[in-house]
């Protein structure tokens, strides 16, 4: 899923203060799972904004809505009636959601309420971990399903480096060493032999470094 966090309210206020009416739009998919932009957070941010304006003796119209998914046109349609009635949309979607809204509502300013951070998983309640950089050429099969591109601070394909200590990364002891995890996992699976195979450095042309990527599937098109 895409993991994000809510921006500070001061930054949001700075961007929306110029509008008399704002539609606050949440997204009930990834960003709901990471407690940043789902229904609950949309209600929270809306109430916080109202309180913040009340305190300043201001009274803009602030309406809330939540889409099942903000990055797909079929779902974006759910606010077709509300969008024209507001000066701007404050999106609690990830960066893709914000840009999808901007593509659909061309005449509306779309303001992000979130900082989109990474592709990750919920490792325990209230903890989200980055674990994929979308390199475009997944090699998890070699590494016991632990991603060296993401979990090793140096993105080593043939690690570990000499700095791994007690399972922690030399870059920052708060970070678990990706290569320590790879070796322990392969050991547990009885597949340490996979590490005898040389894995060439990443070909970054399949990643975002090769420019914005696009997937086109004719069989899925109308």
């Amino acid at each position: 899923m895409i993991v994000a966090t809510l921006k500070e309210i001061d930054e949001i206020r700075k961007m929306i203060d110029r509008y008399d009416s704002v539609l606050v739009v949440g997204c009930d998919s990834c960003v709901a799972e990471c407690a940043a932009g789902g229904s609950r957070e949309t209600m929270l941010l809306t109430a916080a904004l109202k309180l913040s304006y009340l305190k300043d003796h201001k009274n803009p119209t602030i309406t809330e809505a939540v889409l099942d998914r903000q990055c797909v046109d079929d779902f974006i349609d759910q606010i077709a009636d509300q969008a024209p009635e507001h000066d701007a949309i404050l999106s609690l979607g990830c960066g893709a959601g914000v840009q999808a809204l901007a593509r659909v509502y061309r005449d509306k300013p779309i303001i992000p309420a979130l900082n989109t951070l990474f592709i990750g998983e919920t490792v325990s309640r209230g903890v989200w971990q980055e674990n994929c950089l979308g390199c475009g050429n997944c090699k998890l099969g070699y590494f016991g399903a632990v991603c060296p591109v993401t979990r090793c601070s140096k993105k080593l394909m043939n690690g570990p480096c000499g700095g791994s200590k007690g399972g922690r990364c030399e870059v920052n002891p708060e970070i678990a060493c990706g290569w320590d995890m790879i070796i322990r996992r392969l050991d547990a699976l009885g597949e340490l032999d996979r590490l005898t195979e040389y894995v060439p450095p990443c070909d970054w042309s399949t990643s975002h470094s090769g420019g914005p990527r696009k997937v086109i599937r004719e069989d899925q098109q109308p």
Binding site: E8, R40, L44, A47, A48, L51, L54, K55, H57, N59
Partner: protein
């Protein structure tokens, strides 16, 4: 009570059994301005409920929970405490005193403790500046 009644909302866990049938109405008459909302567990209250309640015109919100060890949903009371703290952080961000929210674990069926608590909370809220009502255009 003196002066204009201050609008306060109290979310109380139904397992505290503070009121028997019909008793709440009588209690409400004694405490004008107070809204008592019974909830299945204090853990049902989330930060957005609290902020929404304040944005809707309440000047203070009190959450009454069972002791952590007595929570029938095991972790409801503990989670509720964290949520109230989180809502308080949001209030701070918008420049409103987090003292407008209070979370208290009270003994079950203890209306004397409840009344003492209400007196204390009401006077604290009255000492704070009023959250302005929605300005007329």
């Amino acid at each position: 009570m003196e002066g204009k009644p201050v609008k306060i909302v109290v979310y109380h866990c139904k397992n505290l059994r503070l009121f028997k049938d019909g008793e709440q109405k009588v209690f409400n008459r004694k405490w004008p301005g107070l809204s008592l909302v019974s909830i299945p567990c204090s853990g049902k209250v989330e930060a957005h409920h609290l902020l929404k309640t304040l944005a809707g015109g309440a000047q203070g919100v009190l959450i009454l929970a069972c002791a952590e060890s007595a929570c029938q949903y095991l972790e409801g009371s503990a989670r509720s405490r964290k949520r109230v703290d989180y809502a308080g952080q949001w209030l701070q961000k918008v420049g409103i005193s987090p003292e407008r929210l209070d979370f208290v674990r009270v003994p079950p069926m203890d209306r004397v403790a409840l009344e003492n608590l209400l007196r204390e909370f009401t006077s604290k809220i009255q000492s704070l500046e009023v959250i302005p009502a929605i300005a007329k255009a």
